[in-house]
Amino acid sequence: MARLELNALTKRYGDFHAARDVSLDVPEGEFLVLLGPSGCGKTTTLRMVAGFVEPTAGSISIGGTDVTRLPPWKRNTGLVFQNYALFPHMTVAENVAFGLEMRKLSKAETAEKVKGALDLVQLGHLADRYPRQMSGGQQQRVALARALVFRPDVLLLDEPLSNLDAKLRQEVRIEIRALQQRLGITAVMVTHDQEEALTMSDRLVVMSEGQVRQVGTQRELYETPASRFVAGFVGRSSFLEGELRDGRLVTQGGLALETPKPVHGKVTAALRPERIAVSAEPPAEGTNVFPGTVELVSYMGGLIDLHVRLSPSDVVVAQVTNQGGGTLPATGDRVYLSLGSPAVFPASDPHARGH
């Protein structure tokens, strides 16, 4: 329950930068998610906060105190591990009590707090079980209780859901988020799962190659991605590559797109599948309307993906909602796509900021 500040945090292994100039400011009570592909530096960053990785440069402060040089056991953080990391030789209650014991609480106080924490995760009745006697979801809840019981300044979650099956993941996701909000605790979670990141966080940090690429709310990242990388990583996008001619983006296949802002040189346009309107006849109005041929219909229940070829070198994916009844477009059908106003980014560098 404290503000967490990272200041130009860098971790170098020889020539390799695991994290480079990571600066973040997490206000009290915020749920921040670090999102990125594997090897992007998100876990290194989290482990620097917990104290298991010593930064090469930069500083970390929790609640205004510089903790950069403190060993893990002198920082008041609660870490939830991907593999739960429950002590197998201790009961659930003993696991949860461990952090309190280390803080030398009295037996009575410890017992009371352990009971409270287990009730919080609805496992009060299993206090005397051993971890191996519990399901994965229950173990993860115990790990959560163990990390919360001593009131850490910051809760750290390292891919906490990736060992759970799909159904359970959804359940524990909601539970963690609700608990975090109820307790008003500052939390930082690491994940590579977009859906998890989008549904749980107050704010998201997209990382790649050890660097922070964009920080913002779900909506900010989705609606105004800062770079081609973010547009491709948060939500789905189809990309059209082209060059600017006469104020329009002209692709190799000959499509000419109106762009919202004047751009120049080689550029990439990013199109969100659900923002593309599909019609059998040319629509009365709309920007960037092109005819095309349906190449693949991917029926996914509530949603249907249409892969539409607009030119010999340009294919985009349009997503339509399955409203039942009516006929669906079939492979080979001729359709018209209204692409709307695409986001445009320089083509050379996937991390360059867009226009």
Binding site: G51, P72, W73, L79, F81, F150
Partner: protein, 273 residues
């Protein structure tokens, strides 16, 4: 109920038969020595003239066996403790750091298990004699000289079995403990040691019995007056063969078997050995 096809059943019986055979192979000599230990007569002839438990009494009452038993036990316990003190940090180092030649070191730690005992005993004897000549200290034949030799027998067992336990130990548990506020020593005591306890216990058990039962190394290191149990048995047999040695043997086998099974129940040795 589905019936297994005939050939599959045949294969199953053949394999089970082989397991039974291996088991019998080991069991039969033990059964015979047990049988001999309850012979009534003194001369081991066949068929026996009757049965009696009197040789067990004779074995226990034999002063030389008794004092040799105490010597063996003392040497075994002390050598095991020293072996553990050396082995625990050594195993941790081999597990954690990529030591210079780490693989070769951990293989060479196996040497005392597979170098012929007589060679090992002779090497220890030469070492102790040369050290005694060089320093003038009374090493050869001393209690601590024997213990020093037996530590060599204990180390491979303790190091290898603790290493096996460490290989299955998830080090994120140590990070979890440190995150919860435990410093390095507390983490080791409260998390690491309980997790590798099966390896520690199994290592000590095997180390102790290999010291306790050792003949070759002891032969070179004991002084005339001071004998370990295997040497006492050998000396007794040179003089006479009667069922009291069988009784002493059966008692040793029984104690070791019980220790093995009890320990296994407590720490699941079979997972690390």
């Amino acid at each position: 109920m589905s019936v297994l096809p005939d050939r599959r059943r045949l294969g199953r019986w053949a394999l089970n038969g082989a397991a039974g055979l291996a088991f019998l192979y080991i069991l039969i000599p033990l059964i015979f020595v047990t049988w001999l230990s309850v012979y009534a007569q003194e001369i081991p002839s066949y068929p026996p003239e009757g049965y009696s438990l009197r040789w067990y009494g004779a074995g226990i009452a034999n002063d030389r066996f008794l004092s040799a038993f105490w010597t063996s036990t003392q040497v075994g316990v002390i050598a095991t403790l020293i072996g553990l003190v050396v082995a625990l940090p050594a195993a941790l180092a081999l597990n954690r750091y990529k030591l210079f030649l780490g693989g070769a070191i951990s293989n060479l730690l196996l040497m005392p298990l597979i170098v012929p005992g007589i060679v090992l005993g002779f090497a220890l004897y030469v070492f102790q004699v040369e050290t005694e000549i060089a320093t003038g200290l009374p090493i050869i034949g001393s209690f601590w000289g024997i213990v020093f030799g037996h530590v060599l027998l204990v180390i491979p067992w303790t190091v290898r079995l603790i290493l096996a336990s460490l290989a299955g130990f998830d080090r994120t548990l140590e990070e979890a403990a440190q995150n919860l506020g435990a410093d390095r020593l507390t983490t080791f005591r409260r998390v690491t040691v309980p997790s590798i306890l099966p390896g520690i216990v199994a290592g000590c058990l095997f180390g102790f019995v290999s010291s306790f039962g050792n003949l070759e190394v002891s032969l070179f290191l004991v002084a005339p007056g001071q004998t370990t149990l295997p040497i006492a048995i050998l000396q007794y047999l040179e003089w006479r063969i009667d069922p009291s040695v069988a009784a002493v043997s059966v008692m040793q086998i029984a104690v070791i078997a019980v220790a093995l099974l009890v320990t296994d129940r407590f720490v699941k040795i079979s997972r690390v050995v």
